[in-house]
């Protein structure tokens, strides 16, 4: 191949750069830059590109750049991808890991909302964390065209180092099969908290991912845990849900992907979702049995916030503990839907207090008003209260606060 083009340009493209590289036999590096930020960053862009080519050992080349305000980590990724296409270089130019990105996740954290970002569209990366999703997914799978997988992998790697995630859980959705394992090589060394495994149909494929991660970590000397979230998107996957959920101790959640699932069934996906009721129930039950979180599919009509909210409420009622989102505006709605309502908290508080009261008086039977309360009801109420405390809706010492009123 003589010439390689990476990145994106066009009237609607923002924060990206299109790089066309042609390697030559002589004549040094010729650089052409078109940029809307040329007067401010033209020199910086040119210097950066020359340094990158030098790093990759490219001495003679023509480099044409159409820039739409790309940040340095994007420029670096695009140039590296172009060089790699032409020379197959294994070298990687890593941007600095910003200190804001050095933090860990935890098994037990909330995963109400996780925001999907198409892995080859850097324009959406920068502010994603500002919308406070529980997790940010840099997606290498369905949102990236097959012929862009290689450049997306480099871009995502750079983003993991240079883009502030503002405390969100750092997730990557890898591709299926072999390609997914290659994805892992690129991303695992850069503090990924969780890997989403798409179209997961059996425990073995999940274990392969888990083992590949383990071997990369051994090689890199990492000892942090990389968590797993398989996505069930087929009838086969649904049938094997429990097996998949228990395939590795690193699995913390299991999601369902309804677009592919309904396609597998050969039925239409509806807003009511009766066609996927069984599958969703099955996922919830399997996840609960495995002691992990069940996560619902994305709601794809980004303009319909009312529809989203009722979807979230029915998800919550079924036992799901989170949902994917494809637009930042969905995050707050999802969080609100999964949070306990003031009425729920109020009622749960009364039950918990009545229970403690009964205990302290040595009563075997708990009653609220004239109604007897069974132990599971108390347990559920306690769960609601714990959730409200963790979400900071009520204070840790809510019982004392209650007493004051």
């Amino acid at each position: 191949m003589k010439q390689a083009t990476t990145g994106n340009a066009g009237p609607k493209v923002r924060s990206d750069i299109e790089v066309t590289l042609e390697i030559k036999g002589s004549g040094g590096v010729e650089l052409n830059l078109k940029s809307k930020v040329k007067s401010m960053y033209g020199n910086a862009i040119e210097m950066q590109c020359r340094e990158l080519l030098k790093f990759f050992g490219v001495e003679n080349a023509k480099l044409s750049l159409i820039d739409s305000g790309a940040l340095p980590f994007v420029i670096a990724a695009r140039v590296e991808a172009a060089v790699k296409m032409l020379t197959g270089t294994e070298a990687a130019f890593l941007p600095v890991m910003i200190p804001e990105n050095v933090y860990n996740s935890a098994r037990e954290r909330f995963r109400f909302s996780r925001l999907y970002l198409p892995g080859n569209n850097p324009g959406m990366f920068l502010n994603a964390g500002l919308h406070s999703p529980d997790g940010i997914i840099l997606d290498l799978e369905d949102s990236v065209a097959p012929d862009r997988k290689d450049e997306a992998r480099i871009l995502v790697r750079n983003a993991l180092r240079a883009v502030d995630f503002y405390g969100a859980e750092r997730m990557v959705r890898i591709n299926q099969g072999e390609r997914g394992l290659t994805d892992l090589e690129s991303v695992i060394p850069h503090n990924v908290h969780l890997i989403l495994i798409p179209k997961c149909e059996d425990a073995d494929s999940l274990r392969t991912v888990d083992e590949t991660i383990a071997s990369i970590k051994r090689r890199e000397g990492q000892n942090d845990t990389v968590l797993l979230m398989p996505i069930i998107e087929s009838a086969k996957g649904v049938e094997r849900a429990y097996e998949i959920a228990t395939a590795s101790p690193n699995v913390v959640a299991m999601a369902i992907g309804l677009e592919d699932y309904t396609a597998d069934l050969g039925v239409q996906r509806t807003k009511e979702g009766s066609e996927s009721l069984y599958a969703r129930n099955r996922i919830v039950v399997a996840a609960r049995a495995a002691g992990i979180q069940a996560i619902d599919s994305v709601f794809s009509d980004v303009g319909d916030m009312g529809g989203l909210l009722s979807n979230v409420l029915s998800s919550k009622a079924m036992g799901f503990e989170g949902m994917g989102c494809i637009h930042p505006r969905q995050i707050a709605v999802i969080r609100r839907g999964f949070s306990p309502t003031p009425e729920e908290i109020d009622r749960a508080g009364k039950i918990v207090i009545a229970y403690r009261d009964a205990l302290s008086r040595g009563l075997g039977v708990v009653a609220l008003g004239s109604k007897m309360i069974d132990p599971p009801v108390v347990a559920r109420a306690q769960k609601t209260i714990d959730l409200a405390v963790r979400l900071e809706i009520i204070p840790q010492n809510w019982i004392e606060e209650e007493g004051k009123e």
Binding site: S39, Y41, A70, L130, R329
Partner: protein, 516 residues
């Protein structure tokens, strides 16, 4: 012409297009003297006894009004991007071989780009008004013969009143007019709702031509242009393209990042107590401002509160506050969308209010100082809270000042802006062009934090400990540079291509020719 340093530390010309100019002296420091300008005294014996002033064409009207070399022609911008009249003036002038005109619009729009041709062929010497898009680029590249002068809406009427700009002929398009020249913004296919930018022009111009496509029987009432100031009435097929005059609907932004800024702004308004029962508010028609208005409306509704009044440009969002009882009155200089146009026509509490009465600094009061909450935009803000609205960081002149400078005199000036646009930082060391002094700008709200001007300790105290992401303006600037990299400054030639006037007619800054 030589350059002198003004009170804001900017090098400005002491002379503009052959007339002496006063450098900016500081906010509230310049005291005008002398008497207001007045056009010559007309007599009704020169006008038809039946008061029928209808002339068959704009060309004849211009000839009758004595169009000749070097004249200043004013227009208003109520027809916005649907204006079919302004360009015609210069087309006619070119046919007549008239040279060196000065175009003095209250704003220009992309539809006015053809004027570039008349700037190139010498028909027009210069524009004194807003410079947008290709016109701005034309000026920035040093291709305009005369020096551009940019004024705020209030500065424009001040310049007219004080005689700094003497309008020879005002060509005022009117959606409806009678044969005597009374005219209004409602009625007809090209309704603009309000004609709030026409008043100073018709009062102080030597000659006034009203152009309409809807001639109504006398009296055209309620008139916003008074017929006794009018020389001729021209009736044409069409003064404007309706769908480009008002946007069918103004829309709140769909950008999640801008909505985040809007939410943060609404939260600031609520937590600071600025938003309260009886407050007054003004916000623009930009997507973020509209979102803020919608969120503010929700808060008012929830609390059972009401704005005492809002100042337009009006939009459907203000109209819904008015109609649902969360706003007492809309005082309005321009209507931005169809709902606003309809509201002016039917709602007695939606009141046309000329810019001349609201924004003129050389006047016995200034309406903007009564506004509690003022939401504005900016292309750049620097660490001294100084603002730029006319040039981009690359030095190109791309926007007009609009009412921005006038609105800075509100009680609380809040500027919601993204910290950077693409890679271009909005919060910078020093604004490329100074349009408004930092002492008048109180709060900058970005997606990455809120900076309150240290001069406003009261505001800082009002929101302390209330969960808002308060940062210093320097921190904002550093964050922007850490993400984007430190930008090179735009390179300029020595030549001054535009002067930026302050609200009192003094020169606050100058724009130089860009160097590529």
């Amino acid at each position: 012409m030589k350059l002198i340093e003004n009170a804001a530390g900017r090098q400005v010309p002491d002379e503009i297009n052959g007339t002496e100019a006063v450098p900016f002296k500081g906010v509230g420091k310049h005291r005008p003297s002398g008497r207001k300008y007045a056009p010559s005294i007309p007599t009704c014996i020169d006008y038809p006894e039946d008061n029928n002033k209808v002339i068959i064409s704009l060309r004849e009207a211009l000839v009758k009004c004595g169009l000749k070399d070097g004249m200043t022609i004013s227009t208003h911008h109520h027809l916005r991007d649907g204006d079919l009249i302004s360009n015609q003036i210069f087309e006619i002038a070119a046919e007549l071989g008239v040279k060196d005109l000065v175009w003095f619009p209250s704003a220009s729009f992309p539809c006015n780009d053809p004027v570039i041709e008349y700037l190139e062929n010498g028909t027009v010497n210069r524009i004194e008004g807003s410079m947008n898009g290709p016109l701005g680029r034309f000026v920035s590249e040093g291709r305009m013969k005369g020096m551009a002068v940019l004024r705020s809406h209030g500065g424009r009427v001040q310049a007219i009143q004080d005689g700094e700009v003497r309008i020879d002929i005002a060509v005022l398009s009117a959606p409806a007019a009678d044969s005597f020249g009374n005219a209004k913004g409602t009625g007809g296919p090209s309704a603009t709702g309000v004609l709030g930018y026409a008043k100073a022009d018709y009062m102080f111009a030597e000659r006034v031509i009203v152009v309409t496509d809807t001639l109504v029987d006398l009296p055209c009432f309620p008139m916003e242009i008074e017929g006794n100031y009018v020389d001729c009435v021209v009736v044409v097929d069409k003064i404007g393209i309706p769908e480009k005059i008002v946007s069918g609907t103004t829309q709140i932004t769909k950008s999640p990042d801008r909505l985040l800024i809007a939410e943060l702004t609404a939260s600031f308004l609520e937590k600071s107590g600025l938003l309260r029962d009886g407050a007054t508010m003004q916000a623009g028609a930009g997507g973020t401002s509209l979102a803020i208005a919608v969120y503010a409306h929700e808060i008012l509704r929830r609390k059972g509160w009401k704005f005492r009044f809002g100042f337009g440009g009006s939009t459907k969002y203000m109209v819904s506050m008015l109609e649902e009882g969360q706003m007492g009155y809309i005082l309005d200089a321009q209507a931005f969308d169809l709902d606003a146009v309809r509201s002016v026509e039917i709602n007695p509490n939606h009141i046309p209010y000329p810019v001349f009465n609201a924004y003129n600094y050389h006047s016995k009061g200034n309406l903007t100082t009564m506004m509690d909450i003022m939401i504005l935009g900016a292309t750049e803000i620097d660490t001294g809270f100084n603002g730029n609205v006319v040039t981009h960081s690359d030095g190109l002149l791309l926007h007009g000042i609009g009412g921005w400078q006038n609105c800075l005199h509100a009680r609380n000036v809040i500027i919601p802006v993204p910290l950077f646009r693409d890679r271009i930082p909005v919060i910078v060391d020093r604004v490329t062009t100074l349009c408004g002094p930092g002492e008048l700008i109180d709060v900058i709200i970005t997606e990455r934090g809120i900076a309150i001007n240290p001069r406003r300790q009261d505001l800082i105290d009002s929101v302390k400990g209330k969960g808002l992401p308060l940062v210093s303006i320097e921190e904002l600037k550093e964050t922007a540079e850490r993400i984007c990299g430190k930008p090179d400054r735009a390179a300029f030639d020595e030549r001054v291509v535009a002067a930026i006037k302050w609200v009192d007619g003094t020169v606050i800054d100058a724009v130089r020719k860009v160097k590529y």
